[in-house]
Symmetry: C2
Subunit: 428 residues, 2 copies
Amino acid sequence: MKIERLTRALSLKRSIETGTEQQRQTVRTIIEEVRRKGDEALKEYTERFDGVLLESLQVSKQEMDQAYEQLDSSLIAIIREAAENIREYHERQKRESWMMMKEDGTILGQKITPLDAVGLYVPGGTAAYPSSVLMNVIPAQVAGVKRIVIVSPPDAQGSLPAGVLVAACELGIQEIYKIGGAQAIAALAYGTETIQPVDKIFGPGNIYVALAKREVFGQVAIDMIAGPSEIVVLADETAKANEIAADLLSQAEHDERASSILVTPSMKLALEVASEVEAQLETLPRKEIAAAAIEQYGAIYVTETMEEAIAAVNELAPEHLEMITNDPMSLVGQIRHAGAIFLGRFSSEPVGDYFAGTNHVLPTNGTARFSSGLSVDEFVKKSSLILYSEQALVANAAKIAALARLEGLEAHARAVEERLKKQGGETS
Amino acid sequence: MKIERLTRALSLKRSIETGTEQQRQTVRTIIEEVRRKGDEALKEYTERFDGVLLESLQVSKQEMDQAYEQLDSSLIAIIREAAENIREYHERQKRESWMMMKEDGTILGQKITPLDAVGLYVPGGTAAYPSSVLMNVIPAQVAGVKRIVIVSPPDAQGSLPAGVLVAACELGIQEIYKIGGAQAIAALAYGTETIQPVDKIFGPGNIYVALAKREVFGQVAIDMIAGPSEIVVLADETAKANEIAADLLSQAEHDERASSILVTPSMKLALEVASEVEAQLETLPRKEIAAAAIEQYGAIYVTETMEEAIAAVNELAPEHLEMITNDPMSLVGQIRHAGAIFLGRFSSEPVGDYFAGTNHVLPTNGTARFSSGLSVDEFVKKSSLILYSEQALVANAAKIAALARLEGLEAHARAVEERLKKQGGETS
């Protein structure tokens, strides 16, 4: 693993996949066909792309039962416990409607309303993660979303992974469709005979899914377009090299474009971690992927001081930050940009990926500078409430009219004055 | 004004302006030039598009003083009072970082961090609204954003409107640049010699500004792309037709594409409002604009019942909703989709546009189904915090590893187990 004395500004930013013109055209055609032909188009595309002709798009009760038979009962208990932890954390994010009342009778407030319906895209194949189901569905439920739909591409036998189905069923989700790709996004956005449209679409996917989400944006809302995953470990000489190396590799095994970075003022630690990474890499099942990621996007930056190391972390604005230092809580206030912050040596990233309760859907590619991980907030809307009293209007109408006229908006001024005109006779 | 018995599903959605290919190309060229030539490009474009060759891009102390001289002191006092109201409301939106501590020593939390730097685009010409300065800057300040930059295109004399400058100065904003269009967005996103880049760009603008915001999205965050403004008035027979008509016209004067709609179960009110609109229209300075908007996008829908009327409002998902009914608070819980809700006859929309304290930047074009108005939330990021205790890791490592292996991510399992291996010898 490369070790570099840090002498330059850092950035995680890599180019964003925008697809080729041909891919964009393919996606537009698929969306158009789904809008035109509905379920028929969904079945045709599923046959063409997933290699299976489905009789029914929706997962049946029977398929759900089969999924339970395939999964070890101890695993089901663990999924339940993870779900409880995730629910407990996200309950804390929930916000209530509020009001402020003034003595003149005016009431101002903010009404929190859950979205009516959301769709979750769960990728197929090896990237089909039951944990993604938990991380997307639970905040929606905590927010109070009534209709939650899951779509996921079937395998050649027309099945979805047992882990995904069990996770969904444990959360009480019943509306699951065996469709994937751009056609699934089109169905969620515009609806078909059997699938009612949703208001917002969540979840990662391949380039066709990402392009389709961009294409339907406006018709519905979408969550972020996720990039490859990243970890930055900030460590001092008290950290253990074998643990840091294992964490760097856990990120690297995701994807050849994943990024694993150590920032430390300790050259000794840097050298030990580099050598541990090489050693641990040897026995990993996903060795090729992890090695490629470490080679291309891995780095160890050695700084003069901890202050410099913290500045480097803020430049990188990582999705995941581990702080494995003597007293991480004393430094965390200085971290300005990170999706999730793991404090101390027992807070290995997988703890948060799966189980602790925080969300694992986090801003990638340096976007932690300006955006946040998935939370209950993404499943609600806020409406402001204004109940102006007669007393307040009488007291302030002239001011409001003056502001309107300053902006050249006479009808705005008159709308307020129209109340006074009539009111004058009635009240005074 | 058209009156229609409501018999069909309603939608406010109009096509979103995506510009022509030539406009998109122009915008890309401008951004490229600003990235390449910096301030020089900004001055060239300002000369070409705004007709003025600037010596300095930044508004000077002297220009600020001149702005104060141009504005009546009573207006300045009103701006201050509006700013106080807006600040008081938005203070209620502010959220604090929090933590939850478990008995096993685990701490989970959410850290709220303000954005480092934001830019606000203020349109030029007749659409230069001091109120927009207040509505965008105050939530940023409440959030704790340290650097707030305003950009706005100068007139042919190289000046910005006095109202805009005074509003900015009242809020303590000093970094104001006399640039507009796509070049201003490019400068905010990428920076030049004199302008440091920001993290997020707010504010409306013409098609070039909107396209430039789309283009730089990813490099920086952007707020919504605003469409034409809308009002829906929900009223019963207790409402006064002259007041409703004035409110419908206040929306219509904004823009020929603005939409003003009344939904009511009362045919009597419908007829009266239609006739009041015609009458009041006659004397409006912006009569042509308002008449065109009413003609194209105005409507009065008469329903059989109040329940139907509320359902129609939810279908429309308006930016602004006025509820002028006998007891609006008893109905507000049924409103699922609206950017801002004005309750009762004294809550005319301009009250909220200017003065009451709520934000006037709201979701347009039916997007209130899934999005919210501007708030303090848009100026902060949330980072999750995970401090797992040794006790928690020992108790849960096997579960976390089992979940990781269910997803085929062996290195994730090992990252957790790596702690136990060493820990076993030390602790037991």
